[in-house]
Amino acid sequence: MTPRNILRYAYYPGCSLHASAGEYDLSTRELFKKLNIGLTEVPDWFCCGATPAHNVDELLSLSLCAKNLELAARVGGDLAVACAACFSRLKTTQHVLSESDVKRQQVEKAIDAPVPLNGNVKHLLDILARDLGLERLGQAVTKPLFGLKVACYYGCLLTRPPEVPNLDCVEAPTIMEDVLRAIGAETVAWSHRLECCGANFTLSRPGVVLQLSHAILDSAKAAGADCIMVACPLCHGNLDIRQKEIEGVYSTHYAMPVFYITQLVGLAAGLKADKLGLDALIVNPMPLLKEKGLL
């Protein structure tokens, strides 16, 4: 058995982290290096199929995820996943296939290999809060984020549906707030932390995203938050990239930076802005961080 103080994971970044969410990938790698947590990227991983696959073709969705689970098992160790949607799909696949022998046989035929159903799939949040633990996370902090008021945004798939992710309480999770308090930040109580941002409608029906994300930004602002923290590249895209457009359509002003969890934890662990990809954020976080003395 590996000793408890040596953490090592297979790593599944997901498509977004190799493209539009490059800063999430960068900050994850840098933070984990700093915290002495090993990450080995699964070689030649595929797209998990995300929402479009399970929307119209369950067998394809299950097969793509099963293939990725099989590729990850070759690396060994628990699988660390950064994207909330990939995390949800991989966990759902394990759940569905362990409940239904018929579906498992179909999927095994499609990928021509047995599906490893017992491997642990873990979101980065879980690794930081539980595997590493809040105490050790707190010890790694060199620059606590005192005075930064953060709205923790969970979105949909980190907690729902109750039988799948098992990350935290489905309607009142606190795992993000726990992590942020461990690194010295303040968290605000707000209404929209579990509401949907519009997700992949950003491509097909952006009007949906504008409406839903507007409500989320409004709620965060009303609660007095300085910024929002997310753990999903799609939520980030909708709240950050589309924020300017939302301000225009609804004649309002937020200038509300949206950080990935690894960026804020990385900042507290003493990593510099260039190692966290802060310059890739569309809503410029520098004025806020300078004002709070965090740079």
Binding site: G49, V56, E195
Partner: protein, 189 residues
């Protein structure tokens, strides 16, 4: 259109129940699913009515509308249902049946996006986001959609101009073709 026994077709509903692994008969119309649904305002039939129409065998009405394509799969309904009706799985099943038959829904943008997304996986192994957005704009005839975002995303390194294909593309092609074959042989839905 009035409800009538002529438009009632229960065999389709049985198929939905089999695919989704959940029973529409468990629903007693409390409406919690629609109350929590972030997309209900965009639907002509909110989630609880979708289930009611299924209970009454009136599935054509559901497929002809856009409700199922406006479901964001946020899982709020399934989480809150007191009778454990897994509504998001029902939505998946309805979309699959509509998709396979190239059903009559007028909501074409969401279907187009889904189609291009899946094609991208088969061609590249992973999502090539720039191509996905560009082809969507061309095929949907919205050439100017999000054009203003483009340059910003490119300078921020968020949109990669070029995309490297996976090295193991034969494996993904095999998965797609094995599934096609299983369906042809009637071994899978």
């Amino acid at each position: 259109m009035l409800l009538s026994s002529e438009t009632m077709d229960v065999s389709f509903v049985r198929k939905v129940e089999a695919l989704s692994g959940t029973s529409v008969r468990r629903c007693f119309q409390c409406g919690k699913c629609s109350a929590g649904c972030p997309m209900a305002t965009f639907m002509e039939h909110p989630p609880n009515r979708v289930v009611r129409l299924l209970q009454l065998g009136q599935w054509q009405r559901i497929l002809a509308g856009r409700s199922i394509w406006y479901c964001a799969s946020c899982e709020t309904c399934s989480t809150r249902c007191p009778n454990k009706v897994h509504l998001s799985s029902i939505m998946d099943a309805l979309r699959k049946l509509s998709w396979d038959d190239e059903g009559p829904s007028k909501e074409s943008y969401v279907q187009l996006a889904n189609k291009l997304f899946l094609q991208n996986i088969r061609t590249y192994g992973r999502q090539y986001e720039l191509r996905l957005a560009a082809v969507f704009n061309v095929k949907s005839g919205q050439f100017l959609k999000d054009l203003m975002l483009g340059p910003k995303l490119i300078t921020k390194g968020k949109l990669k101009m070029f995309h490297k294909k996976n090295k193991n593309m034969t494996e993904i092609e095999k998965i797609f073709s094995r599934i096609d074959e299983m369906r042809k042989n009637g071994e899978a839905l």
